[in-house]
Symmetry: C2
Subunit: 916 residues, 2 copies
């Protein structure tokens, strides 16, 4: 053992915490110090439950270990010895004793659960002498040698670094020699021989298995600390936001044995059903077995009780029947645990010769459905409050309830991995062309997956009929991702492994080629691309979900709106609880195949008159669109963003399209080509788009406002339904610019209202607002000037992130991965709002805006409006609403409630601190 | 006359200021109130000079006029009557008197000079009666009727709105009828008949020339106020930054007549030579003529003295000879004026029957050369201080001294107008292709103008041999503009009227077509495109200029560096006084035709090893580039920006280029095409560029740093010259990102230094800095975090403007004109720094940076670094240096000195105010 020769700066005074004999030095609330597993062991001892004694080496030793070139604090050795002596005494056994040897397990345990990511060693303390003692004492030499060979292979793998496969080979060879199939068919002599083979194998690697139990112990402790930085653990932490600085604890615990005959057993159980949430005790166990045997699935485990029976185990005896006394004790234990921890528990137990030992309890993992049901039930059982129930649900998990999911038991052949751009799962035939997609789906009733290098507004019709969308390029906020989320449709984007050849109608992934028509499945929650058809679980919300969401709505301050561009989207969102539309994009209305040619005529027209002609064709269509949306949202506000995309995007690409258009427009082709070329841009995101269109071509915005106001008036006159249009001007960078465009919008709106008033002889009671997107840094910087003439702000955080970082979301896929892997970015800033940078601008804009217009309505309509962390930030900033895609509305409602509850709790704490 | 019926809010108490009889109610320092012309008249009266009496209606009446639907303050009429009575008394004449009629002129006069932009009416007070009185009194009926017909046509044009051309036609008809050629050949009877014809003409327009002199007066006053808002005046104000709110004054002054016989005359003079600045009294005059005759050029004016003689007037008698007494008086007057106003004066005078009257004095317009000489001379004459001399020079004017200019007397045929992107003038044959340009210039010794839709780094060789560059697209900071300014070469960019057809090798402008080889001239100072060859004036700096610049350098705090990418540029800039290089771009080093293929190999290489192979080919070339630049800048800092442009820009465009590259790289063409396609970006400006390249491909930056440090070491070892490299990391958005890249730069730099130390056995005394561009809003917002590990900041205001506004400088040309004409933008923010918006971020970044590292060096290297207004802002912000293209270095030095002088004056003022 290496202790720090350098300064012991940061060395903890107390390194080791003992538990056992009804007392524990640690407490269950010190996960940070003892790790999750350790804290719970200390807790269970304090609860008076039967737990094998042991001690925990605290996480601060791990921190010290990494801060000091993998050495230990100088006081650690003494504290470990002293704890071990206490352990020996309580167990009435000796470490390395050739009479009654003490065996221990050494387990990792981080403050946050990292299942299977770090190392564990069991049966420590065995050597050639103690194994004989164990054999004698247990009168079971097979059990003793089986434990011994397990120790050697585990230790060699974890501490000595010899691949476990080599030990498995020896075992298989031996079984072949003996002509047996199962491990348990080997005799204790066989196992003794296996131990010798294992030792020879270790020698071949120039290593040695230590016979001194103390050396075994320190080797194991060092290996567990080292496993904190193994690649698996690093990756897991990154994926789960666990800081590296937390470190792991190590728990050394006396071994108890479920494999010492028929009065022994080992098992796992859930205090409620982890997949449905039903309130029933539920588990399985194996007689005469060690814990790993249950997990390994070598034998089919028995059900612990009648309600745990299923197809495969229904004929096996239950624990209730086989060990009624121990079972009753276990039931008492689980009830105590659930009441104490006020959550569903996942427990591990061992029965050694009729005596029950609890090895672990933790809050059980569960499906989204179970999470909701358990939370709601526990409120009804008065175990937790409504606020706690709300806080227990991970907002992202709700996606599982709203979208079909790939059956987690299904076999999957993952052929590529992209970004999990829009949740859900889908199976269908590969098509590369949106028109083919339309044809196959509508005429041939097939199901398709649309596979594209990237998507553009021209692909919308294909996207809308596809089961799912797969793209080779584009990030989490690419066109494909945003549109798919809007449609509630599964999407995997930025799947760089795809090499798509449109002309050959095939996609290459590595060395395999997949043709149009082949079956593919997508998992939009993981980003996996799967070969063939994969079984799925349908989307389902139930009454528990409805109950929870009704509590959620009582607990939040922030309103939740939706981004919806069509009446269908609006309807879905309203069902999901949207309280208005925060972003109705109008460009989709221009890209419809029926309209695009009129739109192109408008753009390529020379002069205002030709443009007005083309616009007049679009007016009735737009009016119809708005009418439908206003009807669905009757009585709720609808924020309509005037035309935003770069003119560039509307320009026909192909010579054929241009030629057709020239004929329609009756202009010479070469003039049209020249005009089209002159409109192409190098950086369309920074180009002629947003309100710049309204400045250059005021007639476009006028006609949009006309359509909006006429739709609102018609709806009122026909149905007495009330539309609340909020006209939103995109890409504003300056107050004068906003004022210029807002003026023409108000002129047009008032003109329409006056016209209707004249027509029907009374005033139409439609009120409208005119507001500004805040999506450029300059808009945030000038928000005080802009707010003077502006009735609402809406943060377009996609573009704001784009310009604040100078980072194109369409192009960033190529290098963002380098940033994530170099740890420069923790998260994709297009997914999780950059509170430090972009957030500064949002704070500035909100403060400046409210400084001149205290009641200005402020919302967010970027993709971040559906991200729980970002929603919490918006809540704290005091925004009035967030807006997100329809299928994220419930998630946003939940996240908003959670933020509000947490903030209320924090402010109570602050108040209490002040009062005291 | 219409007085305000509404509230008289804002009505001035005193509207009218009288001058005459040696006394003046106004003072010369109240230009704001009396207009420039008026204030000077009041001033001259106070100086005791002979000035015809009159009165000025103040500018606040003009403001009132426009604020109250073109009506007057209610007290104006009384004040005008009373002033007019005083005037009648002083002149001993009566307004409308049929005995001794008083004639007056009514002239505009704004606080800033707006020559010829507004209206003036002379000879007011004449009608059918008073003209006879004037004829009788002057015994010169021809003079009287000539004055009368002039009044009628002028009044009709200005007040009644009848085109003056129609009156000119009548005059021409009459001359034809009489068989004469010149106006003065018409008799007084002819002129009387002409007056009648004029009246009939007016009647045909359903108008009437008022016979009441008072009516004439009010009509004229109203017309002058109205002319403040005529289109010419509006345009002129916009071009010259004159606020609309200033308004114009109106001066009503008694007429004196230079056309009352041989003892009368009229003339104009400059107190020094306005084109060279030489100290000689210089002017011309006409005997028996009115002021407009001198200007109109009908007769060749006489020189006033011997030194005013030139080719065309050398045989005419001088005023000194013809009117010696009056001339001597004039000399005394001019000396008094120059001494009083301490500047070169442009004066107008009239001699009426031997009596001298001063009609106007103003600071004379002058060429850049004259401006410098006059300022330097006046310091030597102790008329002004060095600071005043410095403040007198318009920094932009210095361009005239540094670049050839189109001769202002030349005839020009303007065929199109673009942006004045890079000053100077050029003539050459049209070529459309940079290779053709090279060939024609190098092999055929022709001079060429390179005409492109836009330029890209691949065109550099063509640009470098061309006389000038003309592009159809791109703004003031487009590639063409920036590179041309760097080369000190004339460029007109964004000339939207051009429709270029590369394949036909022709450019269409309107209906005309110009082929390759045709002669074209460019004026980079005005943006004019001219047909054929146009005479030019060569660039010239003289000893006066050197003297002035030496004073400038004593007066400034801000250092001035240059943007230079080559030893040649560095040499030019150093001659112009650059104190270092603030921006050495390295991408130009990659685009060289000799290197581009190695660069492309590097980019398209799969994996680090292939990339390193390609990079190794580039290393010695880069080292050579840096060696040359360091040698030119020996002892001065050189800021080198690591590779910045989007990878996108390096990708070969054509199939041929790709095919050739595939052969060189020995990879299959289709793989290369796929790779190239995968690198193309939608918005390259926001894409894989700047330090993102250094994160993805650290080896690129490593090799650049290696080249920099090896060049510095070699230079030291070979010549003992000291390089001061400042390694600058572009497009930083986050501290972690900067730290990541800075770390690898420092590792590499230290490695090279250590290697040299080992090689030569001693330490190489080369110190280097590593710093960050601040060119993204997020960098400004996070400047405190970035500054922790960063030794300098350099504001890249081109990109910072681009991202703050979300505005592509390459694409904004298409709609920026709409913004300027709608008055949303006052200026192109790429030309004049947006202090309100972008400036906020600069202030924030500077404060945040200095809050953690007080000595951090901060500079600016965007194009704004050469703009005087922006330089003043940088000075105020306390930046350490500005950096600009070589030819703007003198301008920047001057602007920096001016800013410093102004700030010192302002702070003295504040201190005095505090002390009192």
């Amino acid at each position: 053992m290496k202790t720090s020769s350098r300064s012991s700066k940061g060395a903890p005074e107390k390194c080791v915490y003992f538990f056992g004999g009804g007392k524990a030095e640690g407490t269950e609330d010190r996960k940070d110090l003892l790790g999750g597993k350790g804290a719970r062991l200390h807790g269970m001892v304090r609860l008076g439950l039967p737990v094998p004694p042991g001690f925990t080496i605290a996480t601060d030793v791990c921190r010290f270990f990494y801060a000091h070139s993998k050495s230990y604090p100088s006081n650690l050795a003494t504290q470990v010895s002293s704890a071990a002596r206490k352990l020996e005494k309580q167990m009435g056994r000796g470490f390395g004793s050739s009479n009654r040897p003490l065996l221990v397990s050494v387990r990792s345990g981080a403050p946050a659960s990292m299942p299977g990511m770090m190392d564990t060693i069991l049966n420590l303390g065995l050597n050639d002498e103690t194994v004989e003692a164990l054999a004698k004492e247990s009168s079971d030499p097979r059990f003793a040698y089986d434990s011994y060979r397990r120790l050697i292979s585990m230790y060699s793998d974890v501490v000595l670094g010899i691949p476990s496969g080599e030990f498995d080979n020896e075992l298989e060879n031996l079984k072949a020699e003996r002509g047996v199939h199962e491990d348990f068919e080997l005799s204790h002599e066989d196992l003794r021989a296996l131990v010798e083979r294992y030792k020879r194998l270790i020698a071949l690697h120039n290593a040695k298995f230590p016979t001194d139990p103390w050396e075994q112990l320190w080797g194991a402790v060092g290996a567990v600390f080292s496993s904190w930085m193994n690649p698996r653990a690093i990756t897991y932490r990154k994926l789960n936001d666990i800081p590296e600085s937390w470190g792991t604890a190590v728990t050394v615990q006396a071994m108890v044995f479920g494999n010492t005959g028929d009065r022994s057993a080992t098992g796992v159980a859930f205090t409620r059903d982890p997949s449905t949430g039903e309130r029933r005790f539920f588990g399985e166990f194996l007689v005469n077995a060690q814990g790993e045997d249950v997990v390994a699935g070598i034998r089919t485990p028995n059900p612990i009780n009648a309600s745990s029976k299923n197809e495969s185990n229904k004929d096996l005896a239950t624990m209730e029947a086989l060990m009624p006394r121990v079972y009753r004790q276990l039931v008492q234990v689980y009830k105590k645990l659930e009441k104490h921890y006020r959550d569903m528990q996942d427990i591990e137990f061992t029965v050694e010769r009729g005596k029950l030992y609890m090895l672990q309890t933790r809050n059980g993992k569960r499906t989204a459905q179970a999470a909701v049901r358990i939370a709601v039930d526990m409120v009804r059982e008065r175990l937790i409050s409504k606020s706690e129930a709300i806080l227990r649900i991970d907002p992202e998990q709700i996606n599982q309830l709203l979208h079909p999911q790939i059956d987690s038991n299904a076999e999957k052949k993952v052929i590529a991995r992209g970004l999990p751009a829009s949740p859900g799962a889908a199976t269908g035939q590969i098509v590369f062309d949106p028109d083919v997609a339309m044809d196959w789906v509508q005429n041939q009733k097939r199901k398709v997956i649309l596979v594209r290098i990237e998507t553009s507004p021209e692909d919308i019709h294909g996207m809308s009929v596809a089961q799912g969308i797969l793209t080779a390029r584009g990030g989490m906020t690419s066109h494909a991702a945003v549109v798919a989320r809007g449609m509630g449709k599964c999407c995997v984007s930025g799947c760089g492994a795809l090499s798509i050849d449109y002309s050959k109608r095939e996609v290459r992934i590595g060395n395999s080629v997949y043709k149009e028509g082949e079956l593919l499945s997508l998992d939009g929650g993981t980003g996996e691309v799967l070969l063939g058809e994969v079984p799925m679980i349908a989307a389902a919300t139930d009454s528990f979900f409805q109950t929870l969401m009704s509590w959620v709505d009582q607990e939040r301050r922030l309103a939740v709106r939706t981004n919806a561009d069509t009446p269908a989207d609006a309807l879905v969102a309203r069902k999901f609880g949207a309280e208005g539309i925060g972003l109705c994009r109008t460009e989709h209305m221009f890209f419809d195949p029926d309209r695009i040619s009129a739109v192109r005529q408008m753009i390529l027209a020379d002069g205002e008159i030709a443009r007005l002609d083309a616009l007049k064709k679009i007016l009735p269509m737009q009016r119809g669109d708005f009418y439908g949306i206003f009807a669905e949202m009757n009585g709720l506000p609808v924020t309509i963003r005037l035309l935003d995309p770069p003119l560039h995007e509307f320009i026909p690409h192909s010579q054929e399209d241009l030629a057709a258009l020239a004929i329609q427009m009756e202009v010479p082709l070469d003039r049209l080509v020249r005009k089209a070329d002159s409109l192409r841009e190098f950086n369309p995101m920074l180009g002629h788009r947003g309100c710049r269109l309204g400045v250059s071509f005021p007639e476009i915005y006028r006609i949009q406002v006309q359509a909006i106001m006429e739709a609102a008036c018609d709806l009122y006159l026909e149905k007495k339904w009330i539309a609340l249009p909020e006209i939103m001007i995109p890409l504003v960078g300056d107050a004068k610019e906003f004022d210029f465009v807002a003026k023409l919008c108000r002129e047009e709106a008032d003109r329409v209202l006056k016209e209707y008033q004249l027509k029907v002889g009374k005033k139409i009671p439609i009120r409208y607002l005119v507001g500004s997107m805040i999506e450029l840094p300059r808009a945030a910087l000038m928000a005080d000037e802009i707010a003077i003439g502006c009735e609402f702000f809406s943060f377009g955080t996609n573009d704001l992130t784009q310009t604040t970082y100078g980072l194109s979301r369409d192009d960033s896929g190529m290098f963002l991965k380098d940033y994530l892997s170099a740890k420069i970015f923790e998260k994709d800033p297009f997914v999780v709002l950059d509170q430090k940078g972009v957030g500064q601008l949002m704070i500035l804009a909100t403060q400046k805006g409210r400084s001149v217009r205290s009641a200005i309505k402020v919302g967010i309509c970027g993709e971040h409006g559906g991200d729980p962390q970002s929603i919490a930030f918006c809540d704290e900033l005091g925004l009035d609403y967030v807006s997100c895609s329809p299928f994220r509305v419930p998630i946003a409602r939940l996240a908003a409630a959670q933020s509000h509850i947490r903030r209320r709790a924090a402010s109570k704490k602050t108040n209490r601190r002040r009062a005291s």
